[in-house]
């Protein structure tokens, strides 16, 4: 009964509602209406009065409409309305006794590129804003591309970039349109050394974590030999540390040097340094943009556990031929660039070489740094960069990048031992070469005005090889010469990648940027081999070629790595931004397959008054590892893959921070906590030479120890910039630990680059328009080392070897003295437009602080015990001249 009543009520209610709507809807109501040569707006007012139906509209809709004449009898109200408003092409929203006229909004895509007006180079990270209010905006991507979604109408669009004059263009937008901004360089003071905050300053285009390193500053800063250096610039950022004076690689937030993904034009660089870390392989004349993520990197990056340093090279001038020749105390370089076809194709070639060898001889002899050094010691490095670009159209562009660089070290020395029976002569010859070869072919294609694609074919190769030979002759007292030994070693490590990837960037609305992509990499590893041989008189002499044949038989390992990712930068509410993504990677070697999903999440609030807060969670995986026996990162360390026994390294990091940027001030405070799982360390073999045998890397998996690590820290940045002064104070408090069950008796111990306090102060002062002065003062807690204070002799009854045993009670339990130094430089810029001169005069380590590179306690020589501290770089004057034409 109740159901029946409810059904009846429902049907009645539905009928009544329908009837009511039919009666009240004005659209079908029949009306009589006439009007001669009247304006549409007036006609609408008249129609409303006549029918009593409220008509809402904006008179501006009919500004361009001509007078109309209508004579309608018993026609529907809707039809009459359409006749009156026909010229304005409006839409209608009907109410019970009213109708609202509105213009249907048409969204158009404004897209294009931002480039340097003089060179045609595309600018990465430029800001595009819609004026006034700047409430809509975007940031140009890695290829200078941007995209905005705007309603039909007129706009003033501005484009700005640090070091360039802002450009404002007025446009009428009634369809999708491409707009290219060409910005003029300005002569303002270079950027502040630290640009720590996320770069997105516009309310659109996503929060964009990471920080752009100020390259214009880099060339002015005092650096060893006057050589501008990307890695040294990165080391000025908070949370970034190096070994002593740059040796030992970058260590970011307690991570190992091999946990940094260093990309050159999107290609991984396995050895980023020359001269064991004194200089980076990145020729500053070729670099256009450097971006650093300290563990909070987006999902499109993967493969390393700690950080990403994304370095992009310049394309070359599309309009004019230019060049640069520079020479410093350590190196000289030449750069040529210009159009192959004006505004369409360009080239850039740069080469750099060094004359560092005499300096090594000087320092090694003064400090006995290389105790084996003899009369013949030589070292050199070189770099060569080539970049070609060609624009088929505004939507279609091709790039080719190539880098080749290497180091070579040679040392020959002779030892003589005289006694009554004759003279023993040992002649050692050591030669080592190492270097990278990198190539990338990239194709940009604009699929739609808001869908950008980039496809890249990549090649990267790093090799290290060394040869050591020993000829041992004994000249008897009777004048007879005997060849006692002819001994040789050949060592090589190699890693080589072939890969391809495709990336998509989609700008569906102004508040959202979506990226996704896939990639595949074929890795080849040759972990290394050391061959030892003895030959005797009567047999053919040992040659390196014969050893090379042994090496070539060494096992090469292949591995496949594939990944796909998707990420989004989304302004989801007012000033709130979300950067979220996931990277799914697969690594296959032999019969082992690893799959690690890596979610990345970052939430940011950026208020208009310059105050920001952010929090993030990022998870990373690493399948490639560099392992070595020494406590600094050296080029002959092996690159090895994850295997069934050496599982991938995993890391996660949470970070949170706040910052304020206002009136030339930039203040930032950020904290982080990071966990590293399955970090590796490598045990050297100690008896290979004792056994007189051969060592190769076939047992490397058995010599790896797996452990854990954790790091936490607080980073503080204070920057101030005026018209003539830029100053920055960067302080980091951090704590980094490692734990290996098989080391330090199972107790945790400090990471070898753990530094509790790290302070960097940088000041740039413009003295005159043509002259500026720069200063860096750096202070850091001393590195921890393992040091013994106690020894005893191991001797068992009936044992036949007596050995000094050093009681190392704690791994890395001792701290070296604090590190600090002052660098100063003066930079002069003068010349005319076509020929410009740069002169830098500087001093590195101005007060000649003897910073400890390592400490060695020699308790066994000559009846005296002593502690010897080795310093790498004492006071170093620098002089560099560059001629630009």
């Amino acid at each position: 009964m109740v159901t029946r009543i409810l059904a009846t009520l429902f049907i009645w209610n539905f009928w009544a509602t329908s009837l009511s709507l039919a009666q009240e809807s004005p659209q079908q109501r029949l009306v009589d209406f006439s009007c001669v040569a009247c304006l549409p707006a007036d006609a609408l007012v008249q129609l409303s009065r006549q029918t009593g139906i409220n008509i809402s509209f904006n008179t501006a809709f009919f500004q361009d409409c001509a007078p109309i004449s209508i004579a309608a009898r018993q026609e529907s109200f809707g039809l009459v309305l359409e006749k009156i408003a026909d010229c304005a092409q409006l839409s209608y929203k009907w109410g019970s006794n009213q109708v609202v006229l509105y213009r249907k909004i048409q969204k158009n895509t404004l897209s294009g590129y931002v480039k340097d007006a003089e060179t045609g180079e595309r600018l990465i990270g430029a800001t595009i804003r819609v004026l006034p209010g700047a409430s809509i905006g975007a940031t140009s991507n890695e290829f200078g591309f941007y995209s905005l979604s705007l309603e039909t109408g007129g706009y003033r669009i501005s484009a700005s970039y640090v070091g360039y004059r802002q450009e404002v263009r007025a446009i009428e937008l009634d369809a999708d349109r491409m707009l290219v901004f060409a910005l003029q360089p300005s002569s303002a003071l270079p950027e502040v050394v630290v640009t720590a905050l996320p770069t997105a300053e516009v309310k659109g285009g996503g929060p964009h974590s990471g920080q752009n390193l100020p390259l214009s500053t880099m060339r002015n800063l005092p650096m060893p030999g006057g050589e501008a250096d990307v890695l040294r610039l990165a080391a000025l950022q908070p949370g970034v540390q190096t070994g002593v004076d740059g040796l030992g690689g970058l260590h970011i937030r307690g991570g190992n040097a091999d946990q940094n993904l260093i990309l050159l034009d999107d290609v991984p660089v396995y050895n980023p340094s020359h001269a064991l870390g004194l200089f980076s392989v990145f020729n500053p004349a070729t670099v256009s943009n450097v971006r650093l993520w300290k563990g909070d990197f987006p999902a499109r990056y993967s493969g390393r556990a700690s950080s990403v340093l994304d370095i992009r090279t310049r394309d070359g001038n599309l309009r004019e031929y230019h060049g640069e020749v520079s020479a410093g105390l350590f190196a000289a370089s030449v750069t040529l660039e210009g159009p192959l076809k004006r505004d369409t194709s360009s080239f850039l070639f740069s080469s750099r070489t060094t004359y560092f060898g005499p300096w090594i001889q000087f320092f090694s002899k003064r400090g006995n740094l290389l105790t084996f050094s003899g009369d013949d010691i030589a070292y050199r490095f070189f770099d060569a960069n080539l970049k070609l670009s060609h624009a088929f159209s505004n939507k279609n562009r091709l790039y080719f990048s190539y880098y080749q660089g290497g180091d070579a070290f040679q040392n020959q020395f002779v030892q003589r031992f005289d006694n009554e029976e004759g003279i023993l002569t040992d002649q050692y010859t050591l030669s080592s070469e190492w270097g990278n070869a990198i190539a990338a072919l990239r194709w940009n294609y604009l699929l739609r005005s808001n869908l950008f694609t980039n496809t890249t074919l990549r090649f990267s190769r790093f090799f290290y090889q060394s040869r050591l030979t020993l000829l041992s002759n004994f000249l008897t007292a009777t004048g007879k010469e005997n060849l006692l030994a002819n001994y040789g070693q050949f060592y090589q490590t190699l890693i080589q990648d072939w890969s391809g990837k495709t990336d998509f960037t989609y700008y569906p609305i102004n508040r959202l940027v979506l990226r996704w992509g896939i990639s595949y990499t074929l890795h080849t590893f040759q972990p290394g081999a050391l061959s030892v041989n003895f030959l005797v008189p009567g047999q053919s002499p040992l040659t390196i070629d014969s050893l090379s044949k042994v090496l070539l038989n060494n096992e090469r390992l292949g591995a496949d790595e594939a990944e796909m990712y998707a990420e989004g930068d989304w302004r989801f509410w007012r000033n709130w931004y979300l950067e979220a993504g996931v990277n799914l990677s697969t690594f296959q070697i032999r019969n082992s397959v690893f799959r690690v999903p890596q979610p990345r999440l970052r939430l940011l609030n950026s208020s208009p008054n310059g105050f920001r807060t952010w929090v993030g969670y990022h998870r990373m995986a690493q399948y490639l590892h560099q392992i070595g026996s020494f406590n600094i990162s050296l080029p002959f360390e092996l690159w090895v893959p994850s295997t069934a026994r050496v599982q991938p390294e995993l890391a996660w990091q949470v970070s949170a921070g706040l910052g304020l940027r206002r009136s030339g001030w930039n203040i930032q405070l950020e904290g982080y906590y990071k966990r590293l799982d399955r970090v590796l360390t490598f045990l050297s073999s100690s008896t290979a030479l004792f056994a007189g045998g051969a060592e190769d890397a076939s047992g490397w998996e058995d010599r790896i120890l797996t452990g854990e690590g954790k790091a936490s820290g607080v980073e503080f940045v204070l920057e101030k910039r005026t018209r003539s002064t830029a100053a920055a104070l960067v302080y980091t408090w951090s704590n980094a630990e490692r734990y290996f069950p098989d080391l330090n008796s199972g107790r945790p111990f400090p990471f070898r680059f753990d530094r509790r306090h790290d302070l960097k102060i940088t000041v740039q002062q413009r003295l005159f328009k043509w002259l500026d002065a720069n200063m860096i003062w750096a202070y850091a807690t001393g590195n921890p080392i393992t040091l013994s204070g106690i020894k005893f002799q191991h001797h068992t009854p009936n044992g036949d070897i007596e050995r000094n045993v050093f009681v190392y009670t704690e791994v890395n339990g001792y701290r070296l003295p604090a590190y600090h130094r002052l660098d100063v430089s003066l930079n002069a810029h003068f010349g005319r437009k076509n020929i410009q001169h740069e002169l830098q005069l500087g001093v590195y380590n101005a007060y000649n602080r003897a910073n400890p590179f390592f400490l060695y306690v020699d308790g066994s020589s000559g009846g005296t015990a002593r502690a010897i501290q080795y310093t790498l770089l004492p006071l170093l004057p620098s002089l560099r001249y560059a001629l630009k034409f």
């Binding site: 047999q539 020494f630 008896t687 106690i790 002799q793 791994v811 060695y856 306690v857 502690a867 010897i868």
Partner: protein
């Protein structure tokens, strides 16, 4: 121009002050002097202990050997005896138990010296892992010419363990060889006397990177060597001799099953890197509480291989 020369002098002085290496006073980790007890013992032999005192790293003299220590052994907490003072052929003093050690028994060592902290340690002689066989491939024995007119035999050896334990794969091996000295009498080689010497060896790269020299007469094998079902140690023994009056006769192969204390101590010694700069030494494994050193048991088995006469 007036201040040009003083500036030049200052610059030159600064450059001359550049030193890359210099002796520095450092505060080494302070540790009090402690008893050092070293003892590796096996079943069937008395436990022998050598004592000394630890030194500061900067001390260059010989270590101090305590003259009147109180050294006792206990088994399962029960006093088992006081060690006796002995002197070896070289005049060095050590202390020894009256009784031989027994397999599987845990022994505790206590050393007391007036004014120093008491040192205590414990270990056991482990049950030996059976050796399935020690084989010499006599067909592959090769003769190598050495520079001084001598020769060397290269003898392939295979040491196979019968039952590889799941854990505690702590082993060491030792190689010695015997050389027969002969006289030529009427053109015939007549054995005169014999001598023994340590035997060097060659092996594949993986093996060589996973074995470590020790101050003892054995070579330590990293426990990772026995991964992936590996139960055989393959070596080439190198036996040098003078063919004019010598002939290699036998190779003695010793395989030790080690207690964990023995293994960890010598592994940590191997990871010390000889105190060289830029090395990453590991902390010393120390099972002597209140002191330093190592008190550890091991068991051993030996095999003898007759070297074929290749001449």
């Amino acid at each position: 121009m007036k201040f040009k020369y003083p500036l030049l002098i200052v610059a030159c002085a600064l450059l001359l002050s550049i030193r890359c290496a210099r002796e520095v006073p450092i505060d080494l980790p302070e540790q009090p002097t402690r008893i050092v007890a070293i003892s590796h013992f096996t079943n069937g032999e008395p436990i022998q202990v050598e004592l000394s005192l630890s030194q500061s790293l900067l001390d260059v003299g010989d270590p101090v050997y305590p003259e009147d220590p109180d050294i006792t052994i206990s088994v399962k907490g029960t006093f088992a005896g006081r060690l006796l003072q002995m002197t070896d052929d070289g005049g060095r003093t050590y202390w020894q138990t009256r009784d031989a050690a027994v397999l599987g028994t845990e022994y505790s060592l206590t050393v007391r010296i007036g004014g120093l902290e008491t040192a205590e340690a414990a270990s056991t002689v482990p049950v030996p892992v059976a050796v399935a066989g020690v084989l010499a491939d006599t067909n592959q024995v090769r003769v190598i010419d050495l520079a001084d007119g001598k020769l060397a035999l290269r003898v392939p050896l295979r040491i196979t363990l019968a039952d590889l334990p799941v854990g505690n794969r702590f082993f060491a091996f030792g190689l010695r060889h015997e050389i027969e000295i002969f006289e030529l009498i009427n053109g015939e080689r007549v054995p005169d006397e014999y001598y023994e010497a340590d035997t060097k060896f060659l092996a594949d790269g993986r093996t060589l990177t996973l074995v470590y020299d020790t101050p003892e007469k054995v070579v330590l094998v990293n426990e990772n060597f026995w991964s992936n079902g590996q139960n055989t140690l393959t070596l080439d023994a190198i036996v040098p001799f003078d063919p004019t009056y010598e002939r290699p006769s036998r190779i003695f192969v010793e395989l030790r099953t080690l207690s964990e204390e023995f293994y960890r101590y010598h592994l940590s010694l191997a990871r010390q890197g000889n105190n060289l700069p830029l090395n990453d030494p590991d902390a010393l494994y120390n099972n002597v509480s209140g002191g330093y050193g190592n008190f550890s048991g091991y068991s051993r088995s030996t095999d003898t291989i007759a070297i074929p006469n290749v001449f």
